[in-house]
């Protein structure tokens, strides 16, 4: 960042948000088009930026193959929840409008390198990717569709956890999604969880962690409790690598860390190996 502020007299292309991506990890400026061409991975430090659900689906599904299911399942407001600032129903309606999606996950059928799969991708822009009742229902329908079609289920997570504006209804989505996935797995079908930044709280403690394979992108934040809560509780500083995908791999909770550029090929290869799909 410093090079720019130190040279005010130079004729500059102003690095505005519109033209440049500023890496959240290392601060490097990358032209937006170059950043997009690099799949939103910082060319300097390799940090994997967040993809929207649609971008994630475009990354993994064969062109034109994705057919959304459960699109009519949208966020609900079972508690008529208001906080100090706003009503949840209004916030969620605005979020729908802004993101163009009805819930924090988009699910559908697709082919992945010609293999039929059910694919889901969470979108952190939608209420922090939180697990609402609509999210849970969409995941359940995705799992039941995979069961019907006898094909693998791939879910890409990006979530801060439960959605507190839906109270206990949100918490129960953890049980609901795990139950749906367990049925799928009991029928000999493959479920692959792909954890992307961030995967925390109630999502990490439910469908994200029960994959036949648990995969994550590099340097992804994955964990149950928040760093600050833990530091307050145990009264000690946590190491910087704590709750990264590298930390989880080392502790035995991930099968593999796969870089974004390799993700589609890796999934295709592994699904083919396990299921002998053509």
């Amino acid at each position: 960042m410093a090079w720019f502020t130190k040279a005010p007299e130079a004729p500059l292309r102003v690095p505005t948000e519109a033209l440049w991506n500023v890496c959240k990890k290392c601060g490097a400026y990358t032209p937006k088009d170059e950043y997009a061409a690099n799949l939103k991975v910082c060319p300097v430090c390799g940090a994997h930026g967040r993809l929207s659900a649609r971008e994630r689906i475009a990354l993994l599904a064969d062109k034109g193959s994705f057919k959304e299911i459960a699109a009519d399942v949208i966020a609900h407001d079972p508690l008529t929840f208001h906080d100090a600032k706003e009503a949840y129903a209004e916030k969620v309606a605005a979020t729908r409008e802004k993101t163009g999606i009805g819930e924090s996950i988009v699910v559908g059928t697709a082919t992945l390198d010609k293999i039929p799969v059910v694919l889901g991708a969470m979108d952190f822009r939608f209420m922090g990717g939180s697990l609402g009742s609509g999210t849970g229902e969409r995941i359940l329908q995705a799992a039941e569709t995979a069961r019907k079609l006898k094909c693998p289920l791939v879910l890409c997570t990006a979530s801060g956890g439960a959605r507190m504006q839906e109270g206990l209804v949100s918490l129960m989505q953890m049980a609901k999604t795990c139950a749906a996935i367990q049925r799928l797995r009991d029928e000999g079908l493959l479920y692959i969880s792909v954890m992307t930044d961030p995967t925390t709280g109630g999502v990490s403690a439910s469908f994200a962690m029960v994959g036949d394979l648990n995969i994550a992108e590099p340097k992804t934040l994955i964990g149950f409790a928040g760093r600050r809560v833990i530091e307050t509780t145990i009264k000690q500083k946590l190491p910087p690598e704590f709750q990264t995908s590298e930390y989880l791999l080392e502790h035995g909770f991930l099968d593999k860390i796969v870089a974004r550029k390799d993700l589609k090929a890796y999934l295709a290869k592994t699904i083919r190996f396990l299921t002998a799909a053509k």
Binding site: T80, D83, V92, D186, F224, F253
Partner: protein, 315 residues
């Protein structure tokens, strides 16, 4: 959207809150209305009309003299056969697991263990379990499946323990695994929320066929304090957050998330612990008797349908 905030109290408004869809995408001029809906203070009228506020319920659920797992066990079965360890790394004292005789009924019982004395509280980590606790609970629940015994779980925790070791040993994975495994466990499961049902740490042993809840227990996705500090940016707004979260038994019954409320003595269980302990026992026995009549395959099917229906809304 309702335009007024419903007071959360002993008697929720007649209209089932669960059936209410969020505002349609088209409805998009909320600014003025939003301020009108601001749930500032509880209306004085509502306060008068009810015995106590949601915040009072939170206090009762956390009352120091409220019966704990150790009290239930001492009364039901002083000879309870506690079983230890997750067979992986540790035995977590914050989670009890064992073979218990409740009124002549042999059951596998698991539950969060809080302490009463300071020493106990520290030893039991204030009822906040580590991954080892959830894995132990699952291991012992498997015995119920194998030997055709019912499972009873007693839920009373502020949450799973937020610690370095807990994360390193996979708190998230341990809870997730229990949710998946309990959903297909071939044994009747009766869950009783006796005190605090604190988020994922509670749910980790709370997937079952009958979810019972003591009248003044609470069950929530997040603590009122945590919710207040995030959404109100002020932990002192916990009473408001508690109300907004609808974490009381009457609301949760209405939302279809619990099956049955076990009434408490006037003012709360701490006023007559022995009676509460007996009432919980009778409620458990009744639930077990009902569940035993259902073939176990059908029970598992019904359990799936029950959880699948949670948070499903038809427009």
């Amino acid at each position: 959207m309702a335009t007024t905030k419903k007071p959360v109290a002993k008697k929720p408004a007649a209209k089932a809150p669960a059936k209410k869809p969020a505002a349609k995408p088209a409805a998009k001029k909320p600014a003025a209305k939003a301020t009108a809906k601001k749930p500032a203070a509880k209306p004085a009228a509502a306060k008068k009309a009810t015995a106590h506020t949601t915040w009072d319920t939170v206090q009762i659920a956390r009352h120091p003299n409220r019966p704990l797992l150790i009290d239930y066990l001492a009364a039901w079965d002083p000879q309870a056969n506690e079983l230890h360890g997750d067979r992986l790394v540790a035995d977590d004292p914050a989670m009890f697991a064992g073979l218990v005789n409740i009124g002549g009924e042999r059951v596998v019982l698991v539950g969060h263990r809080k302490g009463r004395t300071t020493e106990e509280k520290i030893a039991y980590r204030f009822g906040m379990a580590n991954p080892d606790g959830y894995r132990k609970a699952m291991r012992i629940m498997r015995l119920a499946e194998k030997f055709h015994l019912p499972i009873v779980t007693l839920v009373d925790t502020s949450g799973a323990f937020p610690g370095l070791d807990a994360e390193a040993r996979g708190q998230a994975e341990a809870i997730a695994k229990n949710l998946a495994d309990m959903s297909v466990l071939k044994a009747p499961i009766v869950v009783v929320v006796t005190g605090e049902g604190g988020s994922g740490g509670a749910l980790g042993i709370a997937v079952g066929d009958r979810i019972l809840m003591l009248e003044h227990a609470i069950y929530s996705v997040i603590s009122p304090e945590g919710c207040a500090s995030i959404l109100w940016r002020d932990g002192h707004m916990a009473p408001q957050a508690a109300e907004a979260l609808k974490l009381t038994s009457d609301w949760l019954k209405k939302l279809g998330l619990i099956d049955e409320i076990i009434p408490e003595p006037k003012g709360g269980a701490q006023n007559a612990p022995a009676k509460t302990i007996e009432d919980v026992k009778q409620a458990i026995l009744k639930a077990i008797r009902e569940l035993k009549k259902i073939p176990v395959e059908k029970l598992v099917e019904q359990r799936y349908a029950k959880f699948a229906a949670m948070g499903r809304f038809s427009d």
